[in-house]
């Protein structure tokens, strides 16, 4: 999987950081998303999908690779 995160769209809600703190962090000043790992291991897929679903602003996108 490959994740992209757009701080410009991010509202700093932090649902992603709550759901997958090993993948997403937040800037201390303005709360916008910091991607810790753009390609986390496969077992994190469920958590990352949840983070995408719960992102209120659509700032996080996930591309799931076949195979």
């Amino acid at each position: 999987m490959r994740i992209s995160a757009d701080p410009g769209k991010c509202l700093g809600t932090g649902n992603c950081a709550l759901v997958a703190p090993d993948v997403f962090d937040q800037d201390d000043e303005d709360g916008t998303v910091t991607l810790l790992r753009a390609e986390p291991p496969g077992e994190r897929l469920a958590a990352v999908r949840r983070a995408v679903l719960q992102c209120p602003s659509g700032a996080i996108r996930l591309t799931e690779q076949a195979g």
Partner: protein, 401 residues
Amino acid sequence: MTTDAQTLPLYPWTDRNRECPLDPPPEFTQLRASLRLPYVDMKNGHKAWLVTRYEDVRAVLRDARFSANHDRPGFPQMGPVDRAVRPGTFAHMDPPDHTRLRRILAPEFMPKRVEALRPRIQQIVDELIDQLGNTAHHVDLVESLALPLPSRVICEMLGVPYKDHQFFQDHTRNLMSQATSGTASNSSFEELMSYLDRLVTLKAHEPGEDILSRLGDRVHDGTITHREAVGMAILLLFAGHETTANMLGLVILALLKHPVQLAQLRADPSLISGTIEESLRYLTIIHTGIVRIATEDVTIGGQLIRAGEGLILALASANRDDGVFGDPDIFDIHRDASSHATFAYGIHMCIGAHLARAELQIAALSLIQRLPELRLAVPFDQVPFRHDMFIYGVHSLPVAW
């Protein structure tokens, strides 16, 4: 036959489910199964489409064509009288104003900031429970714990000086109290607005590490106006106080009503997080729903919604949708309730969600651990529920231990 000639069903329904006051009205179950969205009369001059299914509620909340701007003509406000949006009330605005204001507050409420507050929240809970013990082994939990806790937490987060905490608590208490006369609560509102107005000005000159100082900085650099800063402060006070207070009363009640699960939680405190998520789902205190207005024609749930028409998103119904939650009417602290709709979705998703979770987790767990004999002091059917308030809960929760 035109729409005007038809009698529309009225909404909201005046009482919660009579069988069990912890369940939403039974009408929702049929509506979720129906192929149509009902158009309802909101009893205040407004009409709106009632959205009851989880997927439809989510679809609306994530779609920028549905506006939260309460100043739009025809916006289906829920209250008896339409009010203009006060400066700073970003919950009732669209981008870009919403974005500008929310971004300032977002870092204050993010998960890691809330985690850092946990020890302080625990201290406040401990002090409040200590004080319970000083009375004759029965109290109203609403008065003694549920109301003061969120009030004290928000007080500290805002940066209200300690010497003013009592003043702040007393007036906040007045605002939230059912028993307060109209005059008393208006005057408390004026007192708080005026107090916050002075405090924002003070913080702009002598900033600390708190929310009001942060707002003062933004006034200073021109991002927001002074009036917006005061409006945002009062919004946080309203939004974060009555909600959490009502949830805490209901959570304790729900646990007392499910003693097997209460015992499981006592034996395994790691269950508290799941317990609070399930409580948020099961209890859905924003029980009449939230509102939006369409800015374009959009089809939702097979229904064409025209631009300018209003919608009510029935969060309590979405949370009992059996397409999402198996056996949805069962309170089960072991289920994964994390996709509940209680904090809504989209750009207005509750900014205080993480804080609410922390307060509820800490307070509920501490209470049941420190008072192992905790029980209701009145029969369940005598607990007074807030059927007619926008935020559901109990007016009082007499308990003994």
